[in-house]
């Protein structure tokens, strides 16, 4: 047997997480229902007209996705505490970064599925139609989701070793994510209203993704082995 490659370990861990999720559907069910509740509550509390809703939809969509993503992110590492799986990871010779990438990509898939299912609902409830180039929404969604997920996975590993860890994750994640969130919301709003170009925000999201992906890969080993 040859030494398993970095990609091989990442894929094996990712497939294991996806299979677990496929069988239990814990994360996706709780995220979906949570996001649905947020949409309905926002809809009641603002009761916007079509013109207003186009302006505020960017904020509503991303805030609900952010809240829902926290639900899934909290389960990422907590799931591995049962039966000391995380300790097994620590003593195994598998590189820490392949574990981190597998977890991040797994969370990315979960949040992307959530977004794909929730977007039609937003369009129906808020009567949305893009006045700008709609294909850019897809770019913003991919970059924005990665920005949330890569930092979220990292901070979930940090908050694992704190009291009341479920509340600690958003406390760490939200302040750092402010520029990414601002970029997602503004990019989405400018595409929906068609008044401004979203190019700057997309560039900013790319920069955010690159900076924090590099930083996470660089520092994750420290966090995993700190005990």
């Amino acid at each position: 047997m040859g030494k398993p490659s970095l990609i091989g370990i990442t894929r094996a861990t990712l497939l294991k997480d996806l299979r677990l999720e496929w069988r239990s559907k814990d994360a996706i069910n709780s995220m979906l229902f949570f996001a649905l509740l947020v949409v309905v509550i926002f809809s009641f509390s603002f009761d916007p007209t079509a013109e207003e809703s186009r302006r505020i939809a960017g904020g509503l969509v991303w805030v609900s996705f952010l809240f829902a993503a926290v639900v899934a992110l909290n389960q990422t590492w907590a799931r591995e505490l049962r039966n000391q799986v995380l300790d097994a990871y620590r003593v195994s010779p598998a590189p820490a970064n392949s574990l981190f990438m597998a977890k991040s990509v797994g969370n990315f898939v979960f949040v992307a599925v959530l977004e794909a299912l929730m977007t039609p609902l937003f369009i129906v409830f808020y009567n949305l139609r893009a006045a700008g180039p709609a294909y850019q929404l897809l770019i913003v969604a991919v970059l924005g989701t990665w920005a949330l997920v890569v930092n979220g996975t990292f901070f979930a590993a940090i908050s694992l070793r704190t009291r009341s860890r479920e509340i600690m994750l958003p406390l760490l994640l939200f302040p750092i994510s402010i520029p990414a969130l601002l970029a997602m919301v503004e990019a989405t709003s400018s595409i929906l209203t068609g008044e401004f170009s979203a190019r700057f925000w997309i560039v900013l999201l790319v920069a955010y993704d690159v900076v924090f992906t590099m930083a996470s890969l660089f520092l994750f080993e420290l966090v995993l082995h700190a005990e």
């Binding site: 009291r163 760490l172 750092i176 520029p179 990414a180 970029a183 900013l204 955010y208 924090f212 700190a226």
Partner: protein, 229 residues
């Protein structure tokens, strides 16, 4: 080194008194804003001190990750805590000035928002330290400090672009500044830098002593198991 502490303390008190005198009596009253402008002699030096302390926190965090020296971590805690206090002073004195001059307490201007986000990041840093249960709190905190510092340029550019799309209030205008005003400002800038260094130093020594006490207590309970009975 320990002898330098009282010297710094005396110097700081003298500078703060002199700075207060300069700011309240010597510096002339500003023409359009009136006396409320004098808050700047405290507002800007506090912002400067907070910025320096956050930089110290970042450097101490990196030093800790590289050397694992507990003193570097103690310095990081001290700098972050005192920095948050000075940053709070900035956030409180700002609106006191803004209300009579701009007519509003708060606006999402570049500098205001950046200060607020900085404050949020470092409060979350202190919360993490507070809630952490493992013995590896310093590592987690140092990692978070690095993330926070990486975030600052991104926050800056995002708000800069966010605000250039919308109208923004103009801070100050052209015109010349009275040299006495500049003098009062720089005296206070130096005084506040000393003040920040002094408090940070005291907090650092407290942290080092607290850890020594904890270690000694742990050691004593190991050495004399009978006394616990």
């Amino acid at each position: 080194m320990k002898r330098a502490f009282p010297i710094l303390a005396v110097l700081t008190v003298a500078l703060l008194c002199y700075g207060l005198y300069q700011a309240l009596w010597v510096a002339p009253t500003e023409k359009t804003m009136g006396d409320v402008q004098r808050i700047f002699y405290y507002h800007v030096p506090s912002a400067w001190t907070a910025g320096v302390l956050f930089l110290v926190n970042f450097l101490a965090s990196i030093a800790y990750l590289m050397s694992r020296n507990p003193k570097a971590d103690a310095l990081a805690v001290a700098a972050a805590e005192v920095g948050v206090v000075f940053c709070t002073i900035v956030l409180v004195t700002g609106p006191i000035w803004a209300r009579p001059v701009w007519g509003i307490w708060w606006t999402w201007d570049l500098r205001l928002t950046l200060t607020l986000v900085l404050w949020l990041i470092y409060v979350s840093y202190l919360l993490l330290r507070r809630f952490s249960t493992s013995g590896q709190t310093p590592v987690m905190a140092a990692v978070l400090a690095i993330f926070g510092t990486l975030d600052i340029p991104l926050v800056y550019f995002s708000i800069w672009f966010f605000r250039t799309q919308h109208p923004q209030p103009v801070i100050g205008g052209g015109g010349s500044i009275d040299p006495r005003m500049l003098h009062a400002f720089f005296v206070n800038l130096i005084a506040f830098t000393c003040f920040g260094a002094l408090i940070c130093w005291a907090r650092y020594r407290l942290e080092v002593l607290r850890r020594e006490v904890e270690e000694t207590q742990a050691l004593e309970s190991l050495l004399e198991p009978r006394s616990a009975r």
